[in-house]
Amino acid sequence: MSDQPDNLITINLNGKDVQVEPGLNIIEAASRFGIEVPHYCYHPHLSVPGNCRMCLVEMGMPGKDRATGEPMLNDDGSPKIMWVPKPVIACATKIAPGMHVSTESDVVQKCREGVMEFLLVNHPLDCPICDQAGECRLQEFATDYGRGHSRFVERKNVKPKRTRIGPRVMLDDERCILCSRCIRFCNEFIGKPILGFTERGSYSTLTTFPGKELDDNYSLNTVDICPVGALTSTDFRFKMRVWFLKETDSIDTESSVGCNTIVGSREGKIHRITPRRNDEVNDTWMPDSGRMLYKQVEADDRLTAYSIAGKPCSGEEAVKAAAELLLQGQGKVAVVGSGRLSVEEQFLLRKISEVLQSAPTYAVARYGEADGKLISADRNPNVRGALLTGMIGNLPEEQLEDLRKKLESGEVTHLLAVGEDLAEAGIPAELLKQAQVVYIGTRHCDTCQHSKIELPLLTVFEKSGTFVNQQFRLQKFNQAVPGPAGTLFGLSTFTKLYAALTGESPYAPSPAAIWTHMAEEIAEFSGLRYQDIPKTGKVLDGSRFDKLPFREGASLHFTPAAETANA
């Protein structure tokens, strides 16, 4: 809703005057008042082709006398509405003051009935084997607006049934209703013409241009926006009925963009990740690469068990042993945290470092090529969280040079490594071998081989918490599936370690509990409660870090502070 109520205009929706912000089309305006105008081809983030004709509504404007320009009035003094003789498409019709719209008239219902029937005459109706079943607009609108029976007795058109149009996308042309959303997505978002129609009329067939394939890292968005089962994900195809999926709000961790996502899981197993709409971050899109991250949950190298000196143990024993080891090294301990940890974990890690005589704390930077869309140069999702919580005071480096020197000089002898492989971050194996290492991580790695104590870390899918993205937007993610059997839940690993180090337990292992502490201690979090963080996130004040040379360039809905200043 608009912040400036003065701007609102009045339209009449199904006989009721309502106030709504100007500039919207009828679909969007009606949705503000809970009125659904069914549509297939219209998508809020793509151009408007008006081809499906499902959103036909009746529209009229107050009449004006041609000669005098005076408003025409009915006998009772109300404005006379000149209804447009033909129904109009709600997607391409912008609202205007005084406009009358009917989304429920007989004509509108007949239009919808007609379009539904037409869409189904050549549709294979193979819902029982279709992945889209359960979230299919064709099914939904056929039920809501269709005739309920078929008058079609001719032979249906036959088209290619299974075409691999890219490494991750399969096409069933018989199911396609030719709405052109996928074509427009490629042209307008990816910026490359990849898909198009061949043939004509009802024989129109979606296909790739000769010699091209839909291999872009955003290809799976076409599957999301396909209103029917024409485009399906090779990864998800035939795996799970969508109505069995539990949907959990999450965040894409592959870069500091922090795409909003939905994790679909059933009985503790994740089956797919799809984007969640956030018009200030990722619109309705996300990269394909981020959708595959759930595979880390059941990856072969996943660290699932606690061990002390290679011997399996319980979580409590491991935490206790870790605390003892670190306390032995008091004064010579260093902590390596991660920009992949949640804000809450980073805060607790800072607290743990403080207890260890303010042990120097590092994080490992990860940079890659930005795509200018939804993958930024910073491949850690939460470096800004690490800065805000004070886990680190400066931008991290890719190689831990400083730490290597301290290990070499003997200044540091004990290491607590959380979520990072130190070998990858430039610490040679011989140095790791000499050091006393406690490793908390999601996967087996070279650091593990030299660590005394290993503790499994939960992936983003197995815990709840927050990240701060490149916009300094605080975003929540929720636990979708339980962690590996026997692992400590939530933030317990960190809160228990703190307790074991100090003998005190001020922190309960839930994000909400940690937030009561953070809101008191961290200026930017002041007054915030975990449960109050909106679904679309909350932009924090990042001015404390204005001077830091963040590496992100411009991407969708993000302009780096430096560029804003220059402009």
Partner: protein, 457 residues
């Protein structure tokens, strides 16, 4: 080059303006021949006038679009968005493809310079930056003739830089179409001209006068319409308007086809003749022993008339009329008053030697084949209707098909992006409404012979 055959048997009732020289055996397509016959004099005259005054002649002449809709050309030009500051484009729609229509071809093949002159006058009047002739793929010779004619006209200074020594410059580009009926729909044409699939655009917002070719203000006029511009400016708008009847000024080329003795193109003064004159007198009447079954008055998409039906009522002027098909005036408004349209001026005569179901099946096959496939009702509806009528002709007609066809037509018309929705629905709607008995008869006949059964699939 293949020369189009000349028709020397010009009917005395014809009034030839556009085709004045076209069928003269000594007349050819060269610029010299055109100039010899007084060509390009009107362009020279126009260049001495202000563009607004040229436009004014066209307004006063009341030239209505000859492509199908009959919309006043001068009015169309008036809608041009001149505030945007963008260049204005003029497109000649030479994608003549409505079944039954073969008039523009005569002009382009036999008198291309008349079109070029008309275009340059129109371009000058509207301050067009560049003009295009979009000619259908199936008229390759026409394209070659036009290109050659433009080349010659350019050499004489009538096209290109500083036309006729004036400060105004405008070139014409001939663009060959993509062999699809929908390329004749003006926004489909524009898309095609831009190099894309000829998917008609949604209106609003893409009215060509504001957001046309390359999103610039654009005029799209039919070949015959642009030729009339020459005559309107030559004789003066008011003088031109005296030809024909009020609101139906000028002459019109009618393409007469079907079961008549003398099919062909006839240029007649608007409103001075009737469909009866055209079919029976000018067209030589039906073949011996045949009875009139139906007339399709304005291209295959117009609503059909059944022989013997009468049209009664009051016209806009309040005059009562009671017409048989033969009495309907040959102009823009007459067929509209009689519930159909003059469309592209293609009159198709159907006698009793054919089954009316077959006629509709043929028409439906065309419109299903030519539906661009962009929007749902036309795409699916046209093919469904085609499937039904072709099933009916192959011996599996059902009585319920009649109402089903009508219902499908009703679900298309008025609900599509472009007029192809109406074009494909109107034949079915009108055939079924007017020949209901014939459709049912066919179904019953087939049911009686035991061939009417169909299996549900």
């Amino acid at each position: 080059m293949i020369a189009a055959p000349k028709r020397t048997d010009i009917h005395p009732k014809e009034r030839r303006m556009i085709l004045k020289h076209a069928d003269d055996p000594s007349y050819d397509t060269s610029v010299d021949c055109y100039i010899e016959h007084g060509g390009y004099e009107t362009l020279k005259k126009a260049l001495t006038l202000k563009p607004e005054d040229v436009h004014d002649h066209v307004m006063k002449a009341g030239i209505r679009g000859r492509g199908g809709a009959g919309f006043p050309a001068g009015m169309k030009w008036k809608f041009l968005d001149r505030k945007s500051g963008k260049p204005i484009y003029l497109i000649c729609n030479a994608d003549e493809s409505e079944p039954g229509t073969f008039k523009d071809r005569q002009i382009m093949h036999k008198d291309p310079h008349q079109l070029i002159e008309g275009m340059m006058i129109a371009a000058y009047a509207t301050n067009t930056a560049k003009a295009f002739i979009y000619i259908r793929e199936e008229m390759p010779h026409g394209a070659v003739i036009l290109e050659q004619a433009i080349e010659e006209a350019r050499a004489k200074g009538f096209v290109g830089d500083k036309i006729g020594g004036s400060d105004y410059s405008c070139d014409i580009v001939v663009h060959r179409g993509a062999a699809a009926y929908i390329c004749g729909e003006e926004t489909g044409l524009i898309e095609s001209l831009e190099g894309k699939r000829a998917y008609p655009r949604i209106k609003p917002p893409y009215f060509p006068a504001a957001l046309g070719l390359y999103m610039c203000p654009t005029i799209v006029n039919n070949v015959e319409t642009l030729c009339h511009v020459v005559h309107a400016v030559s004789m003066g708008g008011e003088e031109y308007a005296k030809i024909g009847t009020p609101n139906n000024s000028g002459t019109r080329i009618w393409s007469l086809s079907g079961h008549v003795q003398r099919p062909g193109y006839y240029e007649l003064e608007n409103g001075k003749h009737t469909y009866g004159d055209l079919i029976y007198e000018i067209g030589g009447g039906l073949k011996p022993g045949r009875q009139l079954l139906a007339v399709i008055p304005g291209g295959s998409s117009s609503k059909v008339w059944r022989a013997g039906e009468r049209f009664k009522g009051k016209d806009r002027g309040g005059n009562e009329y009671d017409w048989a098909i033969e009495d309907v005036p040959l102009n823009f408004d007459g067929p509209m008053t009689a519930g159909s349209m003059s469309g592209s001026g293609a009159v198709i005569v159907v006698d009793d030697s054919v089954d009316i179901v077959d006629v509709l099946a043929n028409i439906n096959a065309f419109y299903a084949h030519e539906s661009c496939g962009q929007c749902t009702p036309c795409r699916e509806g046209s093919l469904w209707m085609k499937k039904i009528t072709s099933r009916m002709t192959s011996g599996h007609a059902r009585p319920e098909d009649v109402d089903l066809l009508a219902s499908i037509g009703d679900q298309i018309a008025g609900r599509t992006i472009c007029a192809h929705g109406e074009a494909c629905a109107w034949p079915t709607q009108s055939f079924v409404a007017k020949f209901r008995d014939k459709f049912l008869e066919r179904a019953e006949r087939q049911a009686a012979s035991g061939s009417g059964d169909i299996r549900l699939i």
